[in-house]
Amino acid sequence: MDARWPVFLAAPAALTVPAAHATVYLTVEQAQQSLFAGASFTPVDLGRRERVWRVSTGDWFIVDQVLGKHELITYALGIDPQGRARGIEILEYRESHGGEVRDAAWRAQFAGKSAADPLQLDRDIRNISGATLSCRHVTDGVKRLLKLYESELRQR
């Protein structure tokens, strides 16, 4: 093998850090099982931004996004046939700011990492204190999805 390769592989590791940092808490499938354990899910296309599934239990499962103060939050809502919220799960939290990448101390986390390292684990920034982020929009989003149920899903 060419001796230049290891150098080439090591360098891009620090450059492939995405500008926006996403923290994935649950996949859609995990959120489905968390809210409706053991059920099966059938996607329903409403031609809208929200992703909607009919649950084998007769309930509904919707994935939507809201904008917080500086961040995009993906969440899932379970709704029962009476139109009541069964539960909410946060799936993903994405910071719109990418400035962290410029911070030397943060970049130092990548020192010594190569393409062989599982860098996706370091995609997010952990343990940030300060600048309270707002989740009030999640509450507003849930209200909107409950109305969506009344207007589009209840009669289905």
Binding site: T23, I73, S129
Partner: protein, 227 residues
Amino acid sequence: MRANCASARRARALLGTLVEIRVPASAQGERAVQRAFAAVERVHRAMSAQESTSDIARLRGGRWYALDPWTRWVVDRAEEVRIGTDGLFDCAACGYALDGIAKGFAVDRAVDALQSAGIRAGVVNAGGDLRVFGDAFEEVYVRPPQHPDRLIYIGRVRDAAVATSAAMLLVDPRPARRALRAAGATVIAADCITADALTKPCLLEPEQARQLAGRFCAHALVLGTHG
């Protein structure tokens, strides 16, 4: 808990923010996290200023009975901090809004729930009020309130709580209010309720921050108004 360990991270929208819990991945961990969120929900129900049925409404009405014992505990702790900071921290002055302390308390209760479920290490972060428990060090960053696009690395902590408050969100309990000379204050303490409460006095009197925090065996970092 090392960064390369498999961990379970869960988040809920509670207390007006995103509450995140991270523990080592295990079936036992998932159950413990549910119990920890249940503790945060109890604090949310009892101490949220937004919920008309909360204990805050009772306190404002002078009804000191039928409070959640946790609320009573928080009010007592708030009084200790008020005395220890010469009145710089005062919930009563803000109509018993326990916002300045309830989030830190919720983090402590979540950590208690995790530990009593046998979880030995983890992190609970309620929108910037965080607590690290267990043997391992965790790196902690502060997001300066006036520069949300930046992060300041403050170091590694173990078995400690870190809380940050921004000046723009602060109510000054003193009759003669002065312009604030600090933009944000970060406090590192043994528990999160203390860290959370102390950020406010440290913002009001940045020159005394070290001494005020020292009375509670805590450390304070003050962020200037010029970044």
